[in-house]
Every structure is written in structure tokens, then in C-alpha cells.
Symmetry: C2
Subunit: 381 residues, 2 copies
């Protein structure tokens, strides 16, 4: 039986071969492979490179499946993530994050000696420090300039990007190779955003910027953007050379809410056990805020999540409250029908931060179940 089938409620996990401790993340490998192939096909169709962000799975084995399917390399957020992936033999890594501080630059320099490393840069100060190390080590850093296209996070303001790029290109010890951005959806209050408009706009903005830079004689080979919700449209736009989606490998309730996929495409679910049924309309599961990420608040526009996760195959149950180790499931009809010891599968609202809470996941491939460490979990530094 499959996770997505309506009648499935996790009971197969009571079978001996699936008798695993809960709470635990379980990955359906068949769905995972389909998700990987589909995004690769999209990138291929539009002649765009795919460089998946590993922040979603944090597992070298899954990164390698993405590379085997055709990804040109991977994206990481922190040096510590890149170190784990490089240790596992992955040799083309983009760190889409400013590398700030002497010890981090020294670690980047070490990586730079044995893999094809590309570093994100969004300030002159940051670039100078990196350049000094590039000169000293004798191997310049490939860098991409981060540009803000509306998210107001990191990234130089769009209108200043050409000037900053010119200054970067004059520094010895770094080689400016491209530009990148993370474009948010244009989310109106109460809407789930227009994924197509955002992706196409991103391509247009970035292409326009690259052309201005090239007109100044700058070397802009790589134009990178695109997330899971916007990626296919960003690729279609023709303005990018590379997309960097991450969540698509598993998908989650956010992707469902945004209209990217149906719930049965979600490849990662959390298996939990009912530990208490104090009254007919309420059951307590052994996963709370340490098991399910809470970074997307309930009923915060535009997502309007009804609960902290969604029960597979049961629309009546709402995970309405979570404490650290307790998840409070409420039956809308007033009767959960659950008993102590029952097992359930739930799809998290945000799978990336949920996986970050788990030391390991179980990969389920037909009748096989394999426990795999989330090796790049908690790599903040």
C-alpha cells in the first residue's frame, strides 16, 4: 500500500519488518525518484542547469541520486553542510550564503583546494576577506554575487548590483562567475501567490541585470535562481542558466497549499504513535514541536494551515496544538476513532526544518526499510 492512498493510516508499520521506533521520518523512495526525475526533466526541457539545494534532505545519498539524474552539482547554505557533502565525495558545490569570519574563510579555502567550490558574496567587505585568502592560498575563489529581487534578505540591492560587480571583478583572489538570487513569491494577503508570474519575473530581472553587467565587460556566465514553487517557470523564462530548488525532492503541505503538487506526491512523512486518548474527540501523539517544525505559524497568511501537519488519509483529524513532545489531535466530528498504540503518518507543513529535527530517517523502498543518518543536520556554522 502507498502513503498517498486514502485508506492508508500507517497500520502497515505495525508489521514486524516495519516495527520502528516513533516518531520517525519515513521517505517513500518511489515518490522521491519521481520527484527527482520530474524536476530534472523540467530543467532539461528548457536547457537550464539544475543545482538542487540540499537543505531539504541533508543526506549525501539523496544528493547523489539527484546528481545521477542529471544535476550539475549541489547548493548548500553553510560551510559545515558543504564539508559533509564534500566528505561524501560530491565535488561541485555552491554555497549560496555569505562566508563571513576568518575561520569560515579558512574552511572554505580548504574545500576550495579539492572540489569545485563557488561562494556567494553580497558585500565588498566579505569579498575582500575572501579575496585575501584566495591570493594567499594561491587558488582564487569562484564567486557569484547575490542580488536582492524583492525578498529583502541578503543580496545587494538590484540597482547597486552592477557597481558592486565591477568592484568584485577588479579584486585579485576571487573570480566573478555569475549572479544569483532567491525570489519570493508575490504573495498577497489571503492568496497563495502566482508561481508563474514570480518565476517569469525572476528570469526577466536576472537576465536584464546580466546583460547590463556583460555590457560593462564583466564575466557573467552563471545566472542562478528558482525555488520549488517558482523553478519550472524560472527555467521556462529563458533568463536563467541554473535553477536551485530544494523542497521538490520531498514536497510538503506548503507545496500543496501553493498548488505545486497534490498531497500524495509528498515523499516524506512522519510516523507517530497515539500515546493517550483522554476523551473521544482528542488523541495525543508522540510528536510535537520537536518532531514537526513550527516555522510556519498556523493561520498566518498566506498559508492558513489548519494544523501543524496533515494526517495521511484522514481529513477529520487536525493537529491543532503542539508542545515539545505532545501533539494534540482533534476530531472535527468529535470522535477520533483512535486507540492507544495506533500509528499514523503525517505530512509536515515544512519538510526542510522538520528533517532538521531528526537525527535519521527511514528510507522505504517497497518491502525494504533502511535507516540513514541525516548527516548534514544541524550544520549551522
Amino acid at each position: 500500500m502507498e502513503f498517498g492512498e486514502t485508506e492508508f493510516n500507517g497500520t502497515e508499520f505495525n508489521k514486524t519488518e516495519f516495527n520502528i521506533e516513533t516518531p520517525a521520518v519515513v521517505v517513500d523512495m518511489e515518490k522521491l525518484r519521481r520527484n527527482i526525475k520530474e524536476m530534472q526533466d523540467i530543467a532539461d526541457r528548457y536547457g537550464c542547469n539544475l543545482r538542487p539545494h540540499i537543505k531539504t534532505h541533508k543526506i549525501p545519498l539523496i544528493a547523489k541520486l539527484q546528481l545521477e539524474a542529471g544535476a550539475v552539482g549541489i547548493t548548500c547554505a553553510k560551510i559545515s553542510e558543504a564539508e559533509v557533502m564534500a566528505d561524501a565525495g560530491i565535488d561541485d558545490i555552491f554555497i549560496a550564503y555569505p562566508i563571513i569570519g576568518e575561520s569560515k574563510i579558512k574552511r572554505a579555502s580548504k574545500l576550495n583546494k579539492w572540489i569545485k567550490l563557488t561562494a556567494g558574496v553580497d558585500s565588498i567587505e566579505g569579498a575582500r576577506a575572501l579575496a585575501r585568502e584566495g591570493v594567499e592560498s594561491g587558488k582564487p575563489f569562484r564567486v557569484r554575487l547575490e542580488v536582492d529581487t524583492g525578498l529583502k534578505r541578503t543580496g545587494v540591492p538590484y540597482e547597486k548590483a552592477v557597481d558592486v560587480a565591477k568592484e568584485l571583478s577588479s579584486m585579485k583572489g576571487i573570480e566573478l562567475c555569475g549572479i544569483f538570487t532567491f525570489k519570493s513569491l508575490n504573495l498577497g494577503k489571503g492568496t497563495t501567490g502566482d508561481r508563474e508570474a514570480a518565476g517569469l519575473e525572476e528570469g526577466k530581472l536576472m537576465k536584464g541585470l546580466a546583460e547590463k553587467m556583460r555590457a560593462e565587460g564583466l564575466n557573467i556566465e552563471e545566472i542562478s535562481g528558482g525555488s520549488t514553487p517558482t523553478g519550472q517557470f524560472a527555467a521556462m523564462s529563458g533568463g536563467l542558466t541554473e535553477i536551485r530548488p530544494g523542497t521538490y525532492v520531498f514536497y510538503d503541505m506548503m507545496g500543496v497549499k501553493l498548488g505545486a503538487v497534490d498531497m500524495d506526491r509528498c515523499a516524506a512523512a512522519v510516523l507517530v504513535t497515539v500515546v493517550s486518548v483522554p476523551e473521544p474527540g482528542r488523541a495525543i501523539i508522540d510528536g510535537g514541536s520537536k518532531t514537526f517544525a513550527t516555522d510556519f505559524a498556523l493561520n498566518s497568511p498566506p498559508y492558513f494551515f489548519e494544523g501543524y501537519a496533515s494526517v495521511v488519509g484522514n481529513d477529520d483529524l487536525v493537529l491543532e496544538r503542539v508542545n515539545e513532545e505532545h501533539g494534540m489531535l482533534k476530531s472535527k466530528a468529535g470522535k477520533t476513532g483512535l486507540k492507544v498504540g495506533d500509528k499514523l503518518l503525517l505530512i509536515p507543513n515544512h519538510i526542510c526544518t522538520t528533517v532538521n529535527l531528526h537525527d535519521f530517517v527511514y528510507l522505504k523502498d517497497g518491502d525494504r526499510l533502511e535507516k540513514v543518518d541525516v548527516s548534514a543536520r544541524g550544520k549551522l556554522y
Copy 2:
């Protein structure tokens, strides 16, 4: 210089001896010792046992400081936490959570052979399974019945507790030793709750229940309750034999909002680095939702947190948005005054779930800085 002093902004962490990778949790041992002593003094004053919940620090070394100060034992939520603490030599552990499922019961049974283990129970089914193992292993489990005093989480309904306790006491393989509860604050909309009223009410409710059970001939030696905000009043009530606060060891912005302590009593802070300053009024730090817990949403009554954490010594800066690796600091005055590379200390809204995101913490004792594993981190199962 101390964390709490107004002029302190984390700059001392630029000194060589404190040059640690960020983001990282730093614990001020002087404050920690004061917090431990003060709660122990409160318990001692009212002749109440203190059995701290280790969910806040998850570190055996700190649990041992609590025991040395006079705690009678510790409280854990999950078997896996208890296993870590027992491995470290702690021999009196209460698992304040239903132990459900055969493998978990087998693990509890193993612990039960070599330490003084007390298990929480809140259902007849759960008790029966535990009792079977108690008979089979030849060593009965000490159990406490969990009672719901208003939180609507786990715990049998208050009015059913006497009947359930009678049934438990008739089972071979378990020994009913007491009752426990977790009483929430009586939080009205827009209020921060009346800690005193909640603590006193908890004591009264639990004492009344214990008396009814004793009148039925039941052995109720232990009456356990009390959290960090309510603990001192629960102890003062005279209705409990034991309090189980956890957060007091560090405190956090929630405790500050609830009026339990001032911000300078918070013993654990997160050291971060400014990685980007795209405009004068905004700075990006290297900690987001993977560094600071998000289980208490901004502006959700009754807490009304302005940001996802509070900057020590700087009221102008608000951590207004977080993504996984990005924290967006905004200056209310329009000028952060920060530059790339600056370090800051922030007090999290909820320290327990924040520590759960970190593999290790730094203990700072005067000029000494020691890196210690959060050994019971992520122990969900």
C-alpha cells in the same frame, strides 16, 4: 563584562580566546549556578522536593549540578532522554510521559533494572502493557498516574482519576506511588497569566485528589507538579511533595514576558555574526529558524513577542523575520549601526526548543570557555 550589562553586545567574542564559530549557544555558568540555587532554595523553604525536567538543557553535566545542589532526581520526557542520563550515571529518573509500544517498554524495563525509574501512566491499556513486562521481568515498575488539571493534553480527566488509580493499584507488575500533573497558567487574552493563582490552584487540586485516593486505601506518596512560572507557588501551596520546573535553569524571553525574571537572569544566549548589511536599517545574522526555535509565534496572545529573539543590550534591534539560515534584524530607529562581521548575543523566546537545535553549547565560566555536547538533544523516541 557580563551578558546582561547594557553596553555588552557580544564584542568580547571577537577576542582570540572566545573566537568560536557562530551561531552557537553560550551559557553563562555564574548565572546558571544562581538559577539552580534559587529554585532549590525555594523548594527547600517549603519542604518540597525538586526534580528538575532536563528538557531545557539536555546535558548530563548540568543535570549533575542540579543534583549536587539538592535535587532528588530528574525528570525526562522520553525513554531515549532517560537512557542518555542513566548512561551518565544518574540513577533516579521520572519519565513524565506515557510509555507506549513494546520496544519502548522493553527499553524501560532495562533501565528499571539498574536505576530507580518511575514511569508516567495515563491509560488502562498503557498500564496493562507495562504491568505485563513488570511481571515478566520480575521487577515491577514504579508508576505515577498523570491527571489533567486543565491543559487538555495527556492525563486522565480529573473526575475519573480516582477510579483509574484504583484499577492501577490492582495490577501486578506496577506499583502506584503517586500522581502528577502539568498545570498551565490561566492565560487570558492579552494577559501574561497569574502565576501565583495557577500554582496555588494546582496544589489545592492535587492535594484534594490525593486525599480522596488515600481515603480509598491507595498509596499516594508522591504528588508532583509545578513548572518554572508556577513552581514557587505550587511549592508554597503545601499541596505537592515535588515540583518539576525545567526552564529556570536558563530562563528565556517567555519567562521574562511572564514576569518570572528580568532579562539579565537569562543564562543562555545565542552568539551570532552579522553576515550582510544591505541597507542602513537592516542587518542579516547567521541564525534563523534552524538556530532560534519558532514554536511560539510572534504576536500570538498572550506572549506578544516583538521578535524571534531579543538582542542583549540593544532595544532598537528587532529580529522581525527568520528563514532557515537568515535572521532579519530591523532597526526601529532606521539605523542598525552594524557592520559585516559584528557579533551579537540574543536571548531566545523559548530556550528549551532552541537548545534542541544545537549539537553543542559553550559553557562560559569567567575566562574559560568549554564546548559540551547536548547529549540528549533530539531524543524523540
